[in-house]
Amino acid sequence: MRRRLATDRYSYSHGQGTLPAAMKREALSHNDTRGGDTRGGADRRAASAAQAARAVPASRGSEACDLRRQTGLFAWGLPLAQAGGSFWLPDPASTTAHYTDYLFYAIFYISAFFFALIVVLMTVFLILYRRRDSRSKADKAPSHSTVLELFWTFVPVCIVIYIFAAGFIGYMEMRTAPPDAYEIRVTGQKWKWFFTYPTGYVDENLHVPIDRPVRLVMTSRDVIHSLFIPAFRLKMDLVPGRYTSTWFHAVRPGEYPLLCAEYCGDNHSSMLAEVVVHEPGRFEKWLEEASNFMKNLSPVEAGRILYQRQGCAQCHSLDGTRKVGPSFKNAYGEPVRFADGTTAVADENYLRESILVPDAKIVAGYPPQMPPYQGLLDEDKIAALIAFIKSLSDAHADEATPPADADEAPAPDASP
């Protein structure tokens, strides 16, 4: 059962969910691939700036790089320095990010100027014109001045026209995908991302090539979600019942957080994924290997991957914990009681039916919340899932090799 449910108060979990595991893996690889991050301080920023300069395509690279140098001003002596990027913004990593960053800092300086102007005038007037004698009155001064007022109408008008134009230009770039973009389909569902590649392979993280732009065609299966990749300055809602699209072109290999920005319920804040930008030429190899996981892995291991990626993990625990649906722990081979009073033993046929047509038999005490997987999983995948569930049963575990306990690998403390 994949969907969120009223009673699932504590389905948010650090220990057993898919995301913490993903995060740990990511934390490991993060340290591996970008070891410079732990060094901290200015030299690390310089290193990543240099890295950025190498990776940014020549046409836009110098611009983005200049900007980074300017904005580095804002990283002075703050705890943020360890986090990368400038004071206000994280490291930019896409070809369009500089549109956002440039305008952000342009508005920032304009705002800072006007704000300082207001505060300074206020303070100066307070000091100069403070009422010292309670009976004193104001000096004579004009009560209006059309010229002056038109002046401070006209100046803001010019400034906002500039801001609007700059924002519009960047926006058009960000919304107009190049025609040769590589297309990946994105589906949002409480509280998980599905990225479908042209081979039909579905992954829980977004893997992309670095040498071509990527277009995302997105929809949602339930409520509105919003795909947010801060490093790419990218955000677009996923709306049920229609497709939205956006695009980006990454400039640096590495891993970047992908978040859901539109509030979508209990586990909104753990609806996270990784954007993995592969080195040139590596993406195709990865996709080929990943697409063939059913062939390359044992059924139990493949089943475990399917459990993570098809959304089973959202509602079925592996350790006996009650979530939205019954736990998979010791599910196989045990008698089950249904809502209509009948009972059955959870054998292969029962599990298969429960995956394909969940509402056929509802386990007593659980709401009928699970969407049918008819047409979404082929027989091989169902067999792999059943093998995986079997492996979780103490009595029947020997029928399948127990999987490696990947989830319990100790996570290194990434914070320095």
Binding site: R175, T187, T219, S220, R221, V239, P240, G241, R242, Y243, T244, S245, P371, P372, L376
Partner: protein
């Protein structure tokens, strides 16, 4: 529509004694004169009518959006509405607007009997309108022609349904891609719609959602109008109104004309336009 009662303060005789000007009973203490009170009330009612128009405008917008998204549904489904009953209701409402206007005139001329008579006719028309509406709703209910969540058209009504249904199918092209980046499409993951018979376009329920929302809200306003007219009638019987004080009749009349006007838009939009 109790708010209307509150719009027109009246009969604060106890307080009017304290004022500096001698106040007739029907002029509230904070007004200088009957004219000022009347003008204030009239302005208030007009502003209130503006809010009413905006209240309906949300639904008119929804109508426009869904007609744009699903033109074939609207062309197909409007044939299920009974034009004759709709026309009858239109006539009834327009006639009631006339009687309401005459009632206002009677109030201004201090013709109490005529006022009562015209208000009674107006009330009668309102009830006739609701009766016809009831007949229409009942037909829809029996045939399962309900809003989207409950829409379950039975096979029977596709006979009832227009001979035009087959002719219109030609026009019932799938909604093309919308402007901008978005295309209307149901993702393949969504369960297939369990809608009506084969010659009907998908999602016919959308039309009936709009139909019930708009006519339902309008009917609620008619019921509110009945309440307001009844209140005026009671005061007319009591003899509250005179040639200086007839504001409430005028205000309720304005409201009633608005209810009439909304229907005059609803009728062609829902029943007539192909």
């Amino acid at each position: 529509m109790n708010d209307l009662t509150a719009l027109a303060p009246h009969g604060v005789s106890a307080q009017s004694e304290q004022g500096h000007h001698p106040h007739p009973d029907y002029v509230a203490h904070h007004f200088d004169s009957a004219e000022q009170q009347f003008d204030a009330g009239k302005l208030g009612v007009w502003v209130f009518l503006v809010t009413e128009i905006l209240f309906f405008s949300g639904l008119f917008c929804a109508y426009a959006v869904y007609r744009g998204n699903h033109p074939e549904v609207f062309v197909y489904a409007h044939h299920f509405l009974d034009k004759n009953l709709g026309a009858l209701n239109t006539a009834v409402l327009i006639f009631s607007s006339l009687t309401m206007a005459l009632a206002v005139r009677a109030a201004q001329l201090e013709q109490r009997r005529a006022l009562i008579a015209f208000l009674l006719v107006t009330l009668l028309c309102a009830f006739v309108f609701l009766g016809v509406k009831y007949v229409e709703y009942r037909q829809k209910w029996e045939h399962g022609l309900l809003w989207a969540g409950r829409y379950h058209a039975t096979g029977q009504e596709s006979n009832h349904g227009p001979e035009a249904a087959s002719a219109d199918r030609g026009a019932a092209v799938a909604a093309g891609p919308r402007a901008g980046e978005t295309t209307p499409a149901v993702p393949p993951e969504l369960p297939p719609e369990a809608t009506a018979s084969e010659d009907a376009p998908r999602l016919v329920g959308v039309f009936f959602s709009i139909y019930f929302a708009m006519t339902g809200l309008h009917a609620l306003h008619v019921i509110g109008g009945i309440g307001a007219v009844t209140w005026i009638l009671a005061r007319a019987v009591r003899g509250d109104f005179n040639r200086f004080y007839f504001g409430p009749v005028d205000y309720v009349g304005l409201y009633w004309h608005l209810v009439d006007l909304v229907w005059i838009f609803l009728f062609p939009l829902l029943y007539l336009i192909h």
